[in-house]
């Protein structure tokens, strides 16, 4: 009888492990090739992993809740059973474990979305004694011309699957030392390294060097320890890094939004015909984009390695979404080319996916600036954290009736709070104040948005 190991393939995007959410099969089940067998939550998204072979499930290697490193054996299939003949190709495959395993499928809602998930096959292990696997990519990619590392260090990096292009060297003039490689190897860590062959793709994101103090529990204290993992872990890392790198400051102001409220109320009614729910967010995005065109430093990034400011000529607007799993930031792509209705549609769709934990990696990539709408929950003002490598985040807060002095008397006005949080390396306080003024001008007189329309 033939037992086949089904492994968790490399899903790309720097993902090195995933939390097993639930098994879709149990011992004794007959499975077909390409049938999803397990649902897995990585730090980026939830995916369903299919089996490359058909067979009968003999053994499940992990329990629900376990953290599974890529390339480890998920389950064992008996391929001699009835199911085996359903997939004759299966027997030809086992010689090429990583290359043969199909890429995991996105959870249904994102099924067609993510080209990144086609990537793993091309990132298959190199140095495989079986020879070429048809893919022409090599991992780690050879060090670029500007990488300074001695030939011996380059070899060490290759043998330990460290991508030299992603390391900033600590040596003279940015030289990558042997120690840097050893350290990088340690930090990518994870079970993936144990195979020695699988490439844990180092994420392009920089990693902050921060102390990791222990928390010592007082004896007998009623406390519960839960591993930090998945999306929570990613949020923790991102926030820490953003705070570490970016000198933040936040400017707060309020707008009289009576006109905007009217506009939105009218728009809401007419959009309902299309089954689209219009919120304030698309209008805020429109005003934000128009204002960023006047102040391009808000739609930019700092390339610290190159010592350059990158001004972006496109607008992908991220919006913070509260989900049962934690904060997610889906992105409205090319928002500057979309109508208010289309933006509303995108927001509605992305927010739905976020709530269901079904956002594809691609849905959360490439934001150039972000809006956080914490006001819809509560609070007067907040000081948000910038979504690095962006340089600004706009906060929008609740709309309240307030008395406003018009020079002669108080009158009732609908007032909405806004904050703009900036990277002070690039944006000065006065610039932020001018930005806010220009932005509020649009919010208070939404007809001005007509002038900004493309």
């Amino acid at each position: 009888m033939a037992a086949q190991n089904v492994k968790l393939p490399d899903v790309g995007e720097g993902v090195t492990e995933g939390e097993l959410v639930r098994w879709l099969v149990k011992v004794g089940d007959t499975v077909k090739a390409d049938q999803p067998v397990v649902e897995l939550m990585t730090d980026k998204a939830t995916v369903e992993v299919p089996t490359p072979f058909a067979g009968t499930v003999k053994e499940l290697k992990y329990k629900e809740g376990d953290v599974v490193p890529i390339e480890s054996v998920l389950l064992v299939l008996d391929t001699d059973g009835a199911g085996a003949k359903a997939a004759p190709a299966a027997k030809a495959e086992p010689a090429k474990p990583a290359a043969a395993a199909p890429a995991p499928r996105q959870a249904p809602a994102g099924a067609s979305a993510s080209p990144q998930f086609a990537k793993p096959a091309s990132q298959a292990p190199v140095g495989n004694g079986n020879g070429s696997n048809g893919s022409m990519d090599v991992y780690p990619p050879p060090a670029g011309a500007n990488v300074l590392a001695t030939p011996a260090t380059r070899r060490l990096a290759r043998e330990t699957n460290v991508d030299l292009n992603q390391i900033s060297g600590t040596g003279l003039a940015g030289r990558v030392t042997r120690e840097d490689v050893v350290k990088a190897k340690g930090s990518t860590g994870g079970g993936a390294m144990t195979t020695g062959m699988i490439a844990p793709m180092s994420s392009k994101m920089p990693t902050a060097q921060v102390p990791k103090p222990a928390y010592i529990s007082p004896a007998g204290a009623p406390e519960e320890r839960v591993p930090l993992r998945g999306i929570r872990k990613k949020i923790a890392e991102n926030m820490q890094m953003a705070k570490h790198i970016i000198p933040h400051f936040t400017l707060m102001d309020e707008a009289r939004v009576d006109e905007l409220v009217k506009l939105r109320t009218a728009a809401k009614a007419s959009a309902e015909k299309y089954g689209v729910k219009v919120t304030y967010l698309p209008f805020v995005m429109k005003a934000l984009i128009a204002t960023c065109r006047e102040f391009p430093m808000f739609n930019a990034s700092m390339d610290d390695a190159a010592g350059e400011v990158v001004y972006k000529k496109y607008f992908n607007v991220g919006f913070a979404a509260d989900t049962p799993n934690g904060l997610m930031v889906p992105v409205v792509k090319n928002a500057d080319f979309k109508t208010t209705l289309q933006i509303s549609q995108d927001i509605q769709q992305l927010a739905g996916k976020a709530r269901e934990g079904k956002l594809a990696l691609d849905d959360m990539k490439g934001a150039t600036i972000t809006v956080t709408n914490i006001g819809s929950v509560g609070g007067l003002y907040a000081t948000p954290i910038i979504n690095h490598p962006e340089v600004a985040i706009l906060g929008m807060y609740k709309i309240e009736d307030k008395p406003v002095w018009n020079g002669e008397k108080f009158r009732r006005a609908q007032v909405m709070g806004f904050t703009i949080t900036c990277d002070h390396r690039l944006i000065d306080g006065a610039v932020a104040a001018n930005f806010m003024k220009a932005f509020l001008g649009r919010i208070e007189n939404p007809s001005q948005l007509m002038l900004d329309m493309i």
């Binding site: 050879p142 290759r158 003039a173």
Partner: protein
């Protein structure tokens, strides 16, 4: 009945035989196929025999020109027995090729002599003198090299129109030689033939000799020497064809829109080489080629066909033996399961003209193209080096190009005596990411040609000892190039 191997290397040049030895060292059952002579073009009709001839010619030339200055009484004519010279040259090749045979045997590599044809991605047929054999292997390394290019009007017959192969085998002095192609092969062979007394004319279609392959300052030194040695150079000249006449060959070429004719006894056609990808049945197995006929490979020299690797000339530029060897070792290790990829920063290149040119890293134009606009450049002439003067070989210089921001060495270009043997230090410096100070502060032994490297590094910093440079602390913005 096919014989089965883990690895079969096709072609035993400096890529192939090195790959076979390393594969065998790593415990793979290895075969190698060769259709002509072990060692390939390099050892038999390329690098090695041309170096033998160049050495002999240089020796001869120095006896005639330099020895009298040193006090030797040299007769006006020194007899040179071309047949004996050829026999000696052949013995050099024989030693090298025999050495390869010994090494292959010592490493238990099975050698098949004959023409290989791929029948599938897992099998080749070898037609040899003793019949036909089938070889099966899990991995094939294609290392079948390149051959000279022909141009319209000049078919290589090795009688009137010679390739490098025919030129290196000449058993007599040729009176009038026209070399078509002012690249490194044409100049190497043309130069030595001129030293043996031939009247040599080089016809080059480009506006410069060694166009885009060598540092222009270095080429200038060689161009001067060619002129001094009586080699005529025609630039922007396109060879059209030739006719036999009573007194030799009439070579016609187009220069500035006008057609001209040159008399020659032999024509050397040296306009470059092309990959042998149309041979060995490589098309049968669906290998993808690029537009120039090179087999497409990735950083691990894997082709699009699983289990087939390609190295050396057939796998792309630069077509240099040492690049092929480096790839050979790498591919053998990849097959044995090691994680390797081609990540060398530089393939040093040597041109055995007189004086020799050698380079590692980038030329100035390449540095600029890669975004290094602020360069420091230091040059040190061999004329200021004690060993060079005592050798009576003072033409040329070492030129170092470094990034002015970081002082990291980006390119080293040498023209002068033993440039070929000096360049390895530069290659190491570049691979190590050395700064010019690293070269300047390394003690170089005296009196040697190698001191020029140290001094050129000092020159980039504006304070070489043995040339007059501007006072310390007043380094000109673009390095010391002005003050040398």
């Amino acid at each position: 009945m096919a014989e089965k191997f883990d690895v079969c290397v096709v072609g035993s040049g400096p890529g192939g035989y090195v790959a076979a030895i390393r594969a065998a060292q790593l415990g793979k059952k290895t075969a190698i196929v060769e259709r002509e002579a072990l060692g390939g073009v390099c050892l038999n009709i390329g690098c090695i025999p041309s170096k033998a001839m160049i050495t002999a010619a240089h020796f001869y030339h120095r006896m005639m020109h330099d020895a009298p200055t040193m006090g030797f009484a040299i007769p006006k004519e020194i007899d040179l027995d071309f047949k004996k010279l050829q026999a000696w040259k052949q013995s050099v090749c024989g030693k090298m090729s025999g050495g390869v045979a010994q090494l292959l045997k010592g490493n238990s590599v099975t050698v098949f002599m004959g023409e290989a044809t791929f029948k599938s991605a897992k099998s080749v047929e070898v037609k040899g003198k003793d019949g036909t054999q089938q070889i099966e292997a899990a991995n094939f390394i294609v290392a079948t090299g390149s051959r000279p290019i022909e141009i319209p009007g000049f078919a290589i017959d090795e009688k009137d129109v010679l390739s490098s192969t025919g030129a290196l085998a000449l058993e007599e002095q040729v009176k009038r030689v026209v070399v078509i192609g002012g690249g490194y092969i044409g100049l190497e062979i043309g130069s030595y033939m001129a030293k043996f007394g031939s009247a040599v004319t080089v016809v080059e279609a480009a506006p410069a000799l060694l166009n885009n392959v060598a540092d222009p300052d270095c080429v200038q030194v060689v161009a001067r020497r060619l002129k001094k040695n009586g080699v005529e150079v025609l630039l922007n000249a396109k060879a059209k064809g030739y006719k036999k006449s009573k007194d030799g060959l009439d070579v016609t070429f187009d220069i500035g829109g006008k057609e001209q004719t040159l008399k020659a006894d032999k024509i050397l056609l040296m306009v470059g080489r092309k990959p042998n990808s149309d041979q060995s049945g490589l098309k049968n197995i669906g290998l993808a080629l690029d537009e120039r006929g090179f087999i497409k490979v990735n950083a691990q020299r894997k082709t699009n066909v699983p289990g087939i690797y390609a190295i050396g000339d057939i796998a792309g530029q630069p077509m240099l033996a040492h690049k092929a060897s480096h790839e050979g070792v790498m591919v053998a290790e990849i097959i044995a399961g090691h994680n390797r990829a081609y990540d060398a920063k530089t393939v040093p290149a040597v041109i055995f003209v007189d004086p020799e040119i050698a380079s590692a890293g980038w030329m100035e134009s390449e540095c600029k193209a890669k975004g290094f606009n602020d360069l420091m450049i230091g040059k040190f002439p061999f004329g200021a080096n004690g060993r060079a003067v005592s050798m009576m070989e003072t033409d040329g210089f070492v030129k170092i190009i470094a990034d002015a921001k970081t002082h990291i060495v980006l390119g080293v270009h040498i023209v002068g005596p033993e440039a070929s043997n000096l360049i390895s230090e530069a290659a190491l410096a570049i691979e190590m990411g050395a700064r010019v100070e690293d070269l300047a502060l390394t003690i170089h032994p005296h009196p040697t040609l190698g001191e020029t490297m140290m001094e050129a590094a000092e020159a980039t910093l504006g304070h070489a000892i043995h040339i007059i440079q501007k006072p310390l602390g007043a380094r000109p913005a673009n390095g010391a190039s002005k003050s040398t």
